[in-house]
Each structure stands twice: as structure tokens, then as C-alpha cells.
């Protein structure tokens, strides 16, 4: 049906890129913010503005915290449909306790999994979560939203649509589209290169948009491909749950073989047992790592079958000094503290897997690369954004002559996705500083502000979109740029007045907050620049006032 391979690729690029570009934009933008998720958390929760801490003592700090953890009433209600018979209100059989921290975390996240009697899937546990100050074990109020790691981060892979994992599927399809757009874009680009020379000067604006689209797409092509691909690989178990459905038998076989081989019990013994000193086990693990010439920071500490004779403790080395999340696990018998097993070095395939996921999630220490990740992510946003603008600019005069609304609708959606998304992100930060500290379910209110701000940006962009139907520019672009500049500056001021952490103080003493403030000011400067340029352009266009025909080359 397409006359050539190139035209087929152009169709895929244009239309899949358009429809899923809106989602892709969110994945790239919030992904770029997630690179500094811990730092955004510090900005949002002022009581956690202190230096990163190592994994605290289990015996003194973690154990009392774990022992007081229970699932929330919400988690219990959510679990109820997956249980036969009555639902207990208290859970005493602890399947696992675990704690995770990285070199950027002042606070430590705790996870407790409990056996659920009569669960339809006997493997399914019910979970409780808590974040504590590792210096004294004090719990953070759980309605204080970690805007970086608890909102922007899940937004970039699931849009926070948890219902039936719908958000994961939408973002997954967008990631597949990104890969297809990169391949098809390269196919188109070969021919486009020749067409550059046939462009006439009066198409300069359109051409520069396309130049920027190609530049940001091609320069960062390996980056874009890598992140879209590894994002899919990380969630392959959600998209293709083969091992938990069709090949469940093989999975069970593997688990039995693994338990035999590793000596780590897969099931509880059923006889209670005491817990030896976990601190002594951590010390032994660190001694063994040191003997291998490795740094001794603990990244992940996990207790399995807690309180049972089959219980064991696993200590994993933090991934600070290499491309991995954690590794070199050493496992101890919980009751006695004797070493059960040291994980062997990963296999070749295991190393590839560790490298791909480790490079995507970036929990290692490399601040320059961390900064480049943000630039790469923003280059992806620029590539997608210029794609939208090119789509609209190429069609809007033609649509104006035909009296159709296509370009107008796409343009309004583009405003919403580009400037509107930045506005929504700024709004949640401002709400975080303005809402009363003791407001119940504060985090839920912050999220509501985020979605309402985004909705408001959509309404504003649509309301102001009439000029596009006449072949002119939507003033919402400029107006939302001004709103971004104002909100970003306001957020910095609100942080200063609300917490006393002025930029000139944090600049010298606390980089996580200074960095967020400086990024906000840079955003304000860029938005001001864009708004002024858009104003100047609008004057030029108004005086030119002639229609520009564009050849139906690529981009169908």
C-alpha cells in the first residue's frame, strides 16, 4: 500500500510519533527529573535535608522499626478480594524484612512482607512500607510525598496509572514507538539530507525546526535507543510474563533447583527460632568484601522467613562504585549467624543484564554522567517537541485554507504536553511549599494540584487555539512560558521563606537543595527567553503575512 519502504517508514514515524509522542514526552521529561529524584525529595521534605547516611545498625535501629511495622488499612482492603475467607487485621508471620539505600540517601526505605493466610495465590505477600531517619530510627510521616522518587520517578514509567498496570503498558507502547521512530527516522533522514538543498529561504523557520529535530534525534541517538530499549527490558516481566504464565512449570523447577544448589531454604520450617546479631553478620560480610579488595557499603539488607528456623539474612554490597544496583551477596543463617553461601560472580549474561539495568537506573556514583543523563533526556524532549511543532507548522496554513481543525488540535495538545507539563511539575513543587505542614494526606493534595494544573494548561491551550485555525501561532505558547518563569521563581522564593534555606546558603552547605533551586532558576531564565522570542516572532509573522506552501516530501 505504501509506494516505497521509505514512505512506509515515514508514515510510521509521523503517525505513531504523533499519537504516542505525548506519552513519550512525559517518559523522557520525568525520566530526566528522576535522575535527581533523591535531591528533589530533599527539596520537598525539608526535615530530611542532611547528609547521606550508611545503612544503620540492624540490631539498634532497623529491628525495632521493622517490629512495629504493619500493613496499612488501605493495603488490607486492597488485598481482601484476593483472599478466601476472613481477612486478618494483624499479620504476624513475617516473610521478609528488607532495607535499601544508596550513596545519595539520607533516609532509608524499609519494606516488610507478611504471609497472608488463605491467600488465593499462596506466594503473594502483603506489604508495609516505611521511611526512617537512620540516625535515630524515627519514622517520616508517610503522607509526606517524596516528589522525586515517589511521584516523578513512577510517572516516567507508569504515568502513576496503577489500575491493571495500564500505565506501564501505555509507556511500554510509547517506548516501542520511540525505537520504531528512531529506526524509521534514520531511514527518512537519508533522503531528507538531499532535500535540504531544495528548500527555499522562505521556509527557514520550518527548516530550522526540522534541523533541531534531526540534531537532537541524531546526536543523542544511542542515548535515546538505549533508554527506550532498556526501559522495555527492565519491565519485560510485565509486558511478557512468560515465566509466570505459560512457562510457570519451568519457573517452579528452577526455584527447586536453586534452593537445592544455594542451600537457601525456599520454604519456612515451621519451627520458631531466635535471631542472632545481624550487625555481626554485616561485619563478617564487610570483612569478606575487604578481603577481595572491595568497598564495604551495604546497599541492600534482607531477612527471609523471619522468626523461623529456616530464616536467613542476605547482605548485598551497594552499587556505588560500579554499574550495578547491588551485588556480591553473602547469606547467613539467621538463628546462628553462620555463613550459608557467598554468591558466585555473575555469569556473562548476568553481567550484561546488570550493566543494562544498572546504566539505566544509575545508582552508581558519577556526577558528570548524572548531569549528562539530564541533558540526554532533555534532548529527547526537544526532539519530540520539535516533531510536534514541525507537524503543526507544516500543515497549519493548508488546514487554514481547507478550514479543518487538525493542526489546531495537535498544537493545543503540544502546548499542553510541552509547557503544560513543566507547569504541572512546578505546581506540585509550589503546592509542596504552600500547603500546611500538618494537612492530613498532604501528598494526595500535592498530586491533585499537579493534575489540576495540567488540566488547566490543556483548557488554556485549547481556549487560546483559534489563531492556529487561521494559520497563525497559539498565544498560549508564550503565555505558558511566562507562567513557567513566574512559578519557577516563586518556588525558589517559597523554599527560601518557608525553610530558611536561601540559595546562597545551600550553595555552600547543601548541594541537593541548591541544585534544585538553580535548576528552577535556569528554567525561569529559559522560559523568559522563549517567551520573548515568541513575541518577536509573532511580530515578524504578522508583518510577513503570506502563506508558505510546503512540499509533501517525507513526514507524509
Amino acid at each position: 500500500m505504501f509506494q516505497s519502504f521509505r514512505l512506509a517508514m515515514a508514515w510510521v514515524h509521523t503517525w505513531f510519533g504523533l499519537v504516542l509522542g505525548f506519552v513519550l514526552m512525559a517518559a523522557f521529561f520525568f525520566g530526566a527529573l528522576s535522575v535527581f529524584d533523591r535531591e528533589i525529595d530533599r527539596w520537598a521534605i525539608p526535615s530530611t535535608r542532611f547528609a547521606p547516611q550508611p545503612m544503620p545498625s540492624f540490631d539498634a535501629i532497623l529491628r525495632p522499626a521493622f517490629e512495629s511495622m504493619q500493613p496499612t488499612p488501605e493495603a488490607i482492603a486492597e488485598m481482601r478480594p484476593r483472599v478466601d475467607g476472613p481477612m486478618p487485621q494483624r499479620f504476624d508471620t513475617v516473610e521478609s524484612w528488607s532495607a535499601y539505600t544508596t550513596h545519595r540517601d539520607p533516609v532509608v526505605a524499609l519494606y516488610a512482607g507478611f504471609d497472608v493466610p488463605n491467600a488465593k495465590d499462596p506466594e503473594e505477600a502483603i506489604w508495609a512500607y516505611r521511611t526512617i531517619d537512620p540516625r535515630d530510627g524515627a519514622a517520616l510521616p508517610d503522607d509526606h510525598l517524596k516528589i522525586g522518587s515517589g511521584f516523578f520517578y513512577p510517572m516516567h514509567y507508569s504515568l502513576t496509572l496503577e489500575w491493571r498496570s495500564l500505565g506501564y503498558w501505555i509507556v511500554g507502547l510509547a517506548a516501542l514507538t520511540m525505537l520504531a521512530a528512531l529506526v524509521s527516522g534514520v531511514v527518512m533522514h537519508r533522503k531528507l539530507f538531499r532535500e535540504f538543498f531544495t528548500f527555499r529561504p522562505d521556509k527557514a523557520a520550518l527548516r530550522s525546526v526540522l534541523d533541531l529535530h534531526n540534531l537532537t534525534g541524531v546526536v543523542a541517538l544511542p542515548f535515546h535507543f538505549f533508554f527506550a530499549f532498556t526501559g522495555l527490558v527492565i519491565f519485560a516481566g510485565i509486558y511478557f510474563p512468560v515465566g509466570h504464565t505459560q512457562l510457570h512449570g519451568l519457573h517452579d523447577l528452577h526455584e527447586r533447583l536453586e534452593a537445592d544448589e544455594t542451600g537457601l531454604p525456599h520454604e519456612r520450617a515451621g519451627t520458631p527460632a531466635a535471631l542472632a546479631s545481624v550487625d555481626a553478620m554485616v561485619e563478617e560480610a564487610q570483612r569478606r568484601w575487604a578481603a577481595r579488595g572491595m568497598a564495604g557499603d551495604v546497599g541492600f539488607l534482607a531477612l527471609t522467613h523471619v522468626g523461623d528456623a529456616n530464616g536467613y539474612v542476605s547482605v548485598y554490597r551497594a552499587g556505588t562504585d560500579r554499574i550495578a544496583l547491588t551485588g556480591e551477596g553473602i547469606h547467613f543463617k539467621a538463628a546462628t549467624g553462620e555463613v550459608l553461601r557467598e554468591d558466585p560472580p555473575p555469569t556473562a549474561v548476568g553481567r550484561v543484564s546488570e550493566f543494562l539495568t544498572g546504566l539505566h537506573l544509575q545508582h552508581f556514583r558519577h556526577w558528570l554522567l548524572r548531569g549528562l543523563y539530564v541533558l540526554g533526556g532533555l534532548a529527547g524532549c526537544a526532539c519530540i517537541a520539535t516533531g510536534f511543532v514541525f507537524f503543526v507548522e507544516k500543515r497549519k496554513r493548508q488546514h487554514a485554507k481547507q478550514g479543518t481543525q487538525g493542526a489546531r488540535v495537535v498544537d493545543a495538545l503540544a502546548v499542553t504536553t510541552i509547557t503544560g507539563m513543566v507547569l504541572a511539575a512546578l505546581s506540585i513543587l509550589v503546592a509542596n511549599r504552600l500547603l500546611p505542614g500538618d494537612l492530613p494526606a498532604r501528598g494526595d493534595w500535592e498530586q491533585r494540584v499537579f493534575w489540576f494544573a495540567w488540566l488547566f494548561a490543556l483548557i488554556h491551550a485549547s481556549w487560546r487555539s483559534a489563531p492556529v485555525a487561521r494559520g497563525e501561532r497559539n498565544p498560549a505558547w508564550r503565555e505558558q512560558c511566562w507562567a513557567i518563569a513566574a512559578l519557577a521563581v516563586f518556588a525558589v522564593l517559597a523554599n527560601w521563606i518557608g525553610t530558611g534555606d536561601a540559595l546562597w546558603r545551600t550553595f555552600a552547605t547543601y548541594w541537593p537543595v541548591a541544585g534544585v533551586d538553580m535548576a528552577l532558576l535556569a528554567t525561569a531564565a529559559l522560559a523568559t527567553f522563549a517567551a520573548r522570542r515568541l513575541k518577536a516572532d509573532a511580530v515578524v509573522i504578522a508583518t510577513q503575512g503570506r502563506t508558505v506552501a510546503v512540499p509533501e516530501a517525507a513526514h507524509g
Partner: protein
Amino acid sequence: MTTPRAQLAARVAAALLGGYVFAWGFIAAGMSLLFAAGMEFHDAEFLASALGLLAFLAVFLWAFAARRVWLVWAALAGGGALLAVVGSFTQAALLGGAGA
């Protein structure tokens, strides 16, 4: 299958649904065969999934580039089903014919 709109719809569906079925079959067959060949389970799962995702990308684009859409449907749905059967047979053989 005559109007361009129906043609396009058939191709989009072939690329997404046919591509998904094919990738599923690819992963099921790849995973079970690699495991049968002695690879650790999660390694086999990772490798088959990563290659399966790249295969998805390739057949997704092919669905639009191919001349005949029925051929795309036959290759992706048929090939995917066949590969999935290979996966189940391999599993059955490894479990001693008990739990396909």
C-alpha cells in the same frame, strides 16, 4: 480490505497484535530452549526477552514495509503460535512430560 483506511487498520493491528504474539512466541521458545541448553533460568529469561523485544521492533516495522498484509498476519500470528508451542513442548520435555 479494500479502502486505504481498512488497509491501514489491518497493518496497525498486524504490527501491534501480530508483533506481540510473535514476540511472545519468540521469548517462550528462546527461554525454554536456552534453559534446556543449561543456561540459568533468569539469564535465559533476560536474554530471550531482550532479543524478543528487538524482534518485536523488527517485525513491527516490517508489518508496514511488507507488500501484502495477509502475509504479515500469517507470519506473525502463525509463527508466534508455532514458537509458543515449541516453548510448551520444551517445558513438557524438561518436566518429564508432566506439566506443559
